[in-house]
């Protein structure tokens, strides 16, 4: 991919780690620093039906990234995500429920090189 700076790495990230309240892990800051792309999961306070429809869109995009060999991980959790992914034939990706920013950094650093970066990078 000439002239393209993508990392081929994507973190499905719980809203609380994108918009952290006091005391929550600032996942977005860690992921930015580590060069990961972020797919934000819908906020937990949305009505159930709206949250499910937003998760369906997330799942379709995850399927495309996974099929093309991008590394996809899950940071945090989101009710209904497993069902949305199952509907497009995808399992839950490798997951971390980080207790600290260093936990998340270590998890990301231990990931293997994405298949897509070997083929296209």
């Amino acid at each position: 991919m000439e002239g393209d700076s993508r990392s081929f790495r994507i973190a499905l990230t719980a809203d609380r780690h994108v918009n952290p309240a006091a005391g929550d892990i600032d996942g977005l800051a860690v992921l930015t620093e580590a060069g990961w792309g972020v797919m934000q999961l819908p906020a937990e306070d949305y009505p159930v039906e709206l949250g499910a429809s937003l998760l369906r869109e997330v799942a379709e995009q995850v399927e495309e990234f996974s099929r093309r060999g991008y590394d996809v991980v899950l940071v945090g959790e989101r009710l209904g995500l497993a069902e949305a992914l199952a509907a497009v034939g995808m399992p839950l990706p490798d997951q971390i429920l980080p207790a600290t920013g260093d936990d998340l950094r270590a998890f990301l650093a231990a990931r293997p090189a994405p298949e897509a970066s070997r083929l296209l990078g």
């Binding site: 991919m1 393209d4 993508r6 994108v18 060069g35 792309g37 949305y46 709206l50 995009q61």
Partner: protein
């Protein structure tokens, strides 16, 4: 402060068309500005990614402007508009952040060339940038109107444009956030 609904690629440059990713993951100039001012971030889906995939060609509005793509954008826009309506009902100040030059996410500048099609052969800078909204932004505006929700303040990052200027982009974002 409020809620900023941002184009997918602001948080995930991996969604860009081949050759379009300007950084590994998160586009910090816009995201850092939003966070430093206390804006909550909510990411919109990338309409092109799920429709034409990661191996898509660089495209212009006319190539995407089909009934099937309109239906796809309408479906996504319905979800985004419903989410915006929730935040508006909560009394939140809402802004939208798009991507100038995009056939889907452009706010004031989209890509247009009615002659483009067939075997790709055109060079960069062949004049496809033109005034106008991208298709998803247009569908979202219609969806909000249908729900009686006023279109939030909206601005696009300019990083994909050939005359992009960091300071000008920041000033335009600040102007919309502060309005």
């Amino acid at each position: 402060m409020g809620v900023a609904f941002v184009a997918h690629c602001l948080l995930n440059q991996n969604s860009k068309v081949d050759g379009g990713a300007v950084c590994p993951g998160v586009y910090s100039p816009a995201v850092d500005l939003l966070r430093s001012r206390g804006w909550r971030i909510e990411q919109m889906p990338c309409p092109e990614l799920a429709f034409t995939g990661l191996n898509r060609f660089w495209g212009v509005r006319e190539q995407y402007d089909t009934l099937a793509y309109r239906r796809h954008c309408q479906r996504i826009a319905a979800g985004v508009a419903a989410a915006i309506a929730v935040r508006v009902d909560e009394g939140e100040d809402v802004v939208l952040i798009g991507v100038e030059g995009s056939p889907s996410m452009g706010v004031c500048i989209t890509s247009s060339d009615p002659r483009r099609g067939g075997r790709p052969s055109w060079a960069d800078g062949s004049g496809e940038l033109s005034a106008g909204e991208g298709i998803f932004v247009e569908q979202l505006r219609w969806e909000l109107e249908a729900r009686g929700v006023r279109l939030p303040r909206i601005v696009g990052i300019t990083r994909p444009l050939p005359d992009h200027d960091d300071a000008a982009e920041r000033a335009a974002l600040e102007a919309v956030l502060d309005a």
